[in-house]
């Protein structure tokens, strides 16, 4: 006989992984085999081409299990610069067509387009090889990057994993003018430490998250790996459901943590005093106050990536640059995260504003972020909203990358030095 009072309190992570592994409940530390609702990849040499080959040659998998769970993006090497790159894209298109797996190309960065297409279904369990897929957590999706281990999802219906302990982070206070989601994330790294959430899932909540846009939540959740976390997720609210309604690929009940769920720990971070930050080279562990680095000469700026480059980032940059000019000789690259975002930015006049200010605007691509369009020479310095500041990621290993929010990139482009955007913002006090 069932004992009805035996309700087991669970975190969102535990609930999602319980369903994915076909169990009533799971606990942190349980070793499970979970069935991904979606398997997302972008084509990249040594990854997708190898998965396709190994699945067939090593495992005899002619057709992946339930191909409607799979999706491929072509967002790196776009546009292809060599026939070899185009060959890789051809392999991807051919495999997708043969398998009945959709291939989206030139739509934007896959992690963003995944959300636009509805793969970010609240309550879903998603795997990718790339850890920045954690940004689907903004929609209450459990999404993590298994690196080459994602091959398992190509050849087996399930993926072996350990249920991670959950850390609850509650963000309180209100954000000041000029402080963006990007600053909030890097502040978490500063106060908690770059390995503080290693092998954990993070559930993010609190008034700052409640007030934060969907875009800002994507920014924060997508960087989870730099806290060491497997992933990061936010319980769906009205804003989430308004976004996912009519878009979600699966008919799943949204999942919420139980009030009495057991967390590994609960951390409260107040951001009322937070000022814009910079993350200084050579590591995303190095969050500093912007104010201590103002005036440092910079030669280029990048506004884009799966972390930043959405409408609120473009709006902030346009707000700073409206009626002003990028300093002659400074190279400002603006790359909207998706075609949908770029089209909306055009409708809002943001593209016009940025172009007239002297920005070089590219269609959506990952290529400015991961070192393919990497032009910085020895001794040059960049401000960037890209994901990472490892030396060499934007060119010479003897160049430097300072990570910051979109408004800081724009202000620095005007001055040719690391600059404070606040005096330029329309909300600034006269």
């Amino acid at each position: 006989m069932e004992i009805l009072s035996n309700r087991i309190p669970q975190t969102m992570t535990e609930k999602i992984l319980a369903r994915a592994s076909g169990q009533a409940f799971v606990r942190a530390g349980d070793e499970i085999e979970a069935r991904p609702d979606f398997v997302i990849s972008y084509d990249f040499p040594g990854y997708t081409d190898v998965f396709f080959r190994e699945a067939r040659e090593e495992f005899g998998v002619e057709k992946v299990d339930r191909p409607e769970r799979f999706v491929l993006f072509i967002d790196h090497m776009v546009p292809a610069a060599t026939p070899k790159e185009e060959e890789l894209h051809k392999i991807t298109r051919t495999w997708g067509a043969a398998q009945g797996v959709p291939v989206y190309e030139r739509k934007g960065i896959g992690h963003q387009v995944s959300a636009e297409l509805g793969y970010a279904t609240p309550g879903a369990f998603v795997v990718h090889f790339d850890g920045h897929v954690s940004q689907l957590g903004a929609f209450g999706t459990y999404a993590f990057g298994a690196r080459k281990g994602v091959l398992e999802a190509y050849v087996s219906p399930t993926l072996a994993m350990t249920v991670p302990p959950t850390v609850k982070i509650v963000i309180t206070g209100t954000l000041q003018l000029g402080v963006m989601a990007r600053d909030v994330f890097h502040h978490l790294v500063r106060v908690m430490g770059p390995s503080s959430c290693a092998f954990k899932a993070v559930e993010l909540s609190g008034p700052v998250i409640d007030a934060m846009s969907i875009e800002g939540r994507q920014t924060v959740c997508g960087q989870a790996m730099f806290l060491g976390a497997n992933t990061m997720l936010i319980a769906p609210d009205a804003r989430t459901l308004a976004y996912t309604q009519g878009r979600a690929k699966l008919d799943l009940a949204p999942v919420y943590p139980d009030e009495d769920a057991v967390y590994e720990r609960v951390v409260v971070v107040d951001v009322s005093d937070l000022q814009p930050i910079v993350v200084i080279p050579p590591s995303p562990a190095n969050t500093r106050d912007l104010i201590d680095h103002l005036g440092l000469e910079v030669h280029s700026g990048y506004l884009g990536s799966c972390a930043s480059g959405r409408l609120e980032d473009l709006r902030a940059a346009a707000d700073v640059l409206r009626g002003r000019q990028v300093k002659p000789g400074f190279q400002l690259h603006v790359v909207p995260t998706s075609q949908t975002i770029m089209a909306q930015a055009a409708r809002e006049g943001l593209i016009e504003c940025l172009v007239e200010a002297g920005a070089f605007i590219s269609s959506p691509t990952c290529d400015y972020c991961y070192g393919r369009i990497a032009t910085m020479a020895d001794g040059q310095r960049a401000v960037s909203t890209g994901t990472l500041n490892t030396p060499g990621r934007m060119g010479s290993v003897d160049s430097e990358i300072y990570i910051c929010n979109a408004a800081v990139v724009a202000a620095s482009a005007i001055e040719g030095r690391i600059a404070d955007p606040r005096p330029y913002l329309s909300g600034a006090k006269p």
């Binding site: 040594g46 090593e58 690196r147 080459k148 072996a160 290693a198 590591s283 995303p284 060499g392």
Partner: protein, 175 residues
Amino acid sequence: MTLPNLRGSVAWVFDEDDYDIDLIIGVRNIKITDVQELAALVMADRDPGFAATVRRGDLLVGGCNFGYGHPHYPAMRAMRHLGIAGVVAESFSPGFFRGEISMGFPLVSCPGILAQVQRGDEIEVDWTLGCVRHFGSGNTLPLQPLNAAEHQTLEAGGLIPYLKQRLARDAGASK
């Protein structure tokens, strides 16, 4: 089933926290696929003679959160080519950990290791007793056990043979 012990000299101690392993071969070289070429570049920025000092079975020692950043595969591929048999670290970054275990490359989380060892010291990873032995001092430190899937992946020699075994087992169970 148990994993064979790993016994060897410490070929290098990465004592910094959050070490970005791409720096082992240099970010500029991560697109190189030829393993000989990669092996010649290992640690070139810090000790150009490093490759010649490595003997088969040697181990690396790392600090906290070893493998932080966007860890790519060429660095450890090159290290394995030189004969490095595994890494013992205070702790690992999860992406790096999962990626290298799937290559069948032993990673051993062992809090306290950094304070115990220096380059050239002889150590042994004993999976059965769950410890790392330091021969110079006679000290042992407990290691953090692997989960079953990780253990079986190392035992099988990597993700592909592990998955083949698991899928064969599942197929057998469903008959």
